[in-house]
Symmetry: D3
Subunit: 160 residues, 6 copies
Amino acid sequence: MTIAIYPGSFDPVTNGHLDIIQRAASIYDEVIVTVMSNSSKKPMFSLGKRVKLIEKVTENLPNVVVESYSGLLVDFADQKKAKVIIKGLRAVSDFEYEFQMALMNRKLNPQVETMFLMTQSQYSYLSSSVVKEVAKLGGCIKGLVPEGIEAEVVRYFNEH
Amino acid sequence: MTIAIYPGSFDPVTNGHLDIIQRAASIYDEVIVTVMSNSSKKPMFSLGKRVKLIEKVTENLPNVVVESYSGLLVDFADQKKAKVIIKGLRAVSDFEYEFQMALMNRKLNPQVETMFLMTQSQYSYLSSSVVKEVAKLGGCIKGLVPEGIEAEVVRYFNEH
Amino acid sequence: MTIAIYPGSFDPVTNGHLDIIQRAASIYDEVIVTVMSNSSKKPMFSLGKRVKLIEKVTENLPNVVVESYSGLLVDFADQKKAKVIIKGLRAVSDFEYEFQMALMNRKLNPQVETMFLMTQSQYSYLSSSVVKEVAKLGGCIKGLVPEGIEAEVVRYFNEH
Amino acid sequence: MTIAIYPGSFDPVTNGHLDIIQRAASIYDEVIVTVMSNSSKKPMFSLGKRVKLIEKVTENLPNVVVESYSGLLVDFADQKKAKVIIKGLRAVSDFEYEFQMALMNRKLNPQVETMFLMTQSQYSYLSSSVVKEVAKLGGCIKGLVPEGIEAEVVRYFNEH
Amino acid sequence: MTIAIYPGSFDPVTNGHLDIIQRAASIYDEVIVTVMSNSSKKPMFSLGKRVKLIEKVTENLPNVVVESYSGLLVDFADQKKAKVIIKGLRAVSDFEYEFQMALMNRKLNPQVETMFLMTQSQYSYLSSSVVKEVAKLGGCIKGLVPEGIEAEVVRYFNEH
Amino acid sequence: MTIAIYPGSFDPVTNGHLDIIQRAASIYDEVIVTVMSNSSKKPMFSLGKRVKLIEKVTENLPNVVVESYSGLLVDFADQKKAKVIIKGLRAVSDFEYEFQMALMNRKLNPQVETMFLMTQSQYSYLSSSVVKEVAKLGGCIKGLVPEGIEAEVVRYFNEH
């Protein structure tokens, strides 16, 4: 049985993330979506809220679970007996950063492999940051985030 | 049971290729190393010879088989009931080409996923072309190709 | 009145090219699609045939004309009183090559500006080469080239 | 009549920006230089000051106007009946970010096209940030910003 | 006699930095490792502490000296009569930033050349930031920083 | 005394190459411009002719010598007791190829360092290939190659 971890900030989860989750879930026996805290940025949604939103949009995927974690990713992989870390790649700038992270994680724990999926072309321009930027300026985010998330993001910027 | 295909020209197989094969074999139930013909370049070794050389250096990996194929990769994946195509990434230039190929293969057959592994840093400069270039000029290729392959490559350039 | 030139090999024209032509035609008064000969590659279709195929798929665009040319692009721009050269960008590797070409053309003729459009994301993996590669191996090219071109490409590879 | 928007922070306007403005003004009937606020960075000059400085250095270009805007760029294009957004590209890192923005803007409003000009090679290393960095450390910024701007930037860092 | 400057933040110095220092010291008559202040980031170690740590790990290199500096790099080069600035390159993103810096420094002082060394492949994923990230989360940094530095970094994160 | 090798095809030498030679000559005690044969491309000028042309344009540089070589570059460096290989970088695509070569040369001979200079911005679009392309189509190559070379290149394309 192969368990895979899909880590990220998911603030908020986008349709690009959801596509990666679905594709990973069709290959691996279990996919643990792992919401990581990022101490250097003030998040839009709390860790707990982000977990709930992803659980909502993945409820039809029986082999997907969602958890949050604040430590070293390879330690979490160890605890969960996960052999694989999943990452999506959109562009060259992703590639270089992820390359560095994958090599570092390999150094820290050679038992865990990082595997990459290319983001589908229609999501190549999509990131959580750009969703927040558009929403903040009052632009329409339909099609950028899963349907269940859209209202939450819009409400956030109405209130902030 | 997840079957993965690892396609390439492997002319010749390098230590970078072998590293990807070993890592893929630890994750997937079966890995089919697939030697592809490339009509636009005159190869050093024939398809059959390349299959034999890879069989020799992977004989200790029970879940790895080696085959050759000349058609559309996604059709081969279909025949073999493989859900995954494995590719190694070394650099940005690899990334862009593989990105294009992965999206095209997805268009041709959405049932097959391409997954990428980062080449280990000590093999980041290694390619079949650079091995041939060095061997042709009489340089030492120890550490660049698996031990069993070294003599074959050197002999080829002594004879050509 | 602003006349723009859209140069390329178009061997064959793809849906990505057609998208650029349509978008350029909505901005400039006249768009001259310019089929360039490329002495270093043996083409699939002759210059004249490529002109005819593009004329066929752009017949609904009244401000688009198609011509062929074999000399220096900036000289052709001069003859046609074109102020703008249009190029599509798909990826970083395109970018660097086109950057070099744009700077060189500027050096040769500072009166002509090169302007770039980003290829739409669904065509980001599409090139004439990959279309030929897929067609040659018997893959389906529906959606990759304009409908009127598809049969011609398939026939070519049945005959060669 | 084709109206083009050239958006940016212009904090301060550089000779690279001025070059793009001049080239755009020779192609389009009207160019609206649009000073955008960027809430995440504390600017050197206020929006209003930046508008005035650009007006000063473009006063000899009759078809250039300068405005400021704080909302969604494609909404501003709509209000102004602009069909084109102009962006300058210096390097691969620009390219990827601008690619993402162009695709997002296209999603938000398919009627507006983003067109790119390559920065002239002598300005390829020039950005507002690097100008500020140099000025702050007391370096000479002659040739980096338009003449009328130089004294303003130097005065700012003498006072801060 | 050729004097070279090797500038950086070195917060903390890594094995990748040390490798560049050693290689530069084998080519140039004198190498001045120059610890620069970076006003936009709060450092882990003070300028003075960083100088001491680098002195400690380079004490066996007689032609290496360590200094700190807060102004324009090319002015420091002038003061020291250094003809060469040394920089290490790990990846494409380094390359573009360093390219911009090298051209700007050349504009500010054409007498000083920037020369680049490629980071050895085993250090390609290594940066001061990633070291701090790993240490902060309690990961092992053995092999990432020189032996004499390791305890200092670990102690810092125990106390902060 | 530090001897540096500057290898290349130089078919023909461009103003970009000459700029690198001049800058290298101001740093190292001796610079050996090394004209390499490239078996995979039919050259415009013979090895001997290329040596003569470079000698002609560097005759005012007393510490520059020109030689040709057909073997492994690091062996040539050994013979010449050269500690440094010089390469010019123009763009990201150069960077990745040169990175691979530098790491391979380091593996073959760790005593020789590859050092990189950034091409000046006005030459960033310049390569031997683009010079030949322009000359072949009758474009003006003034400013692209040293004065003494211009007539030779033009004559070649008049005769071929």
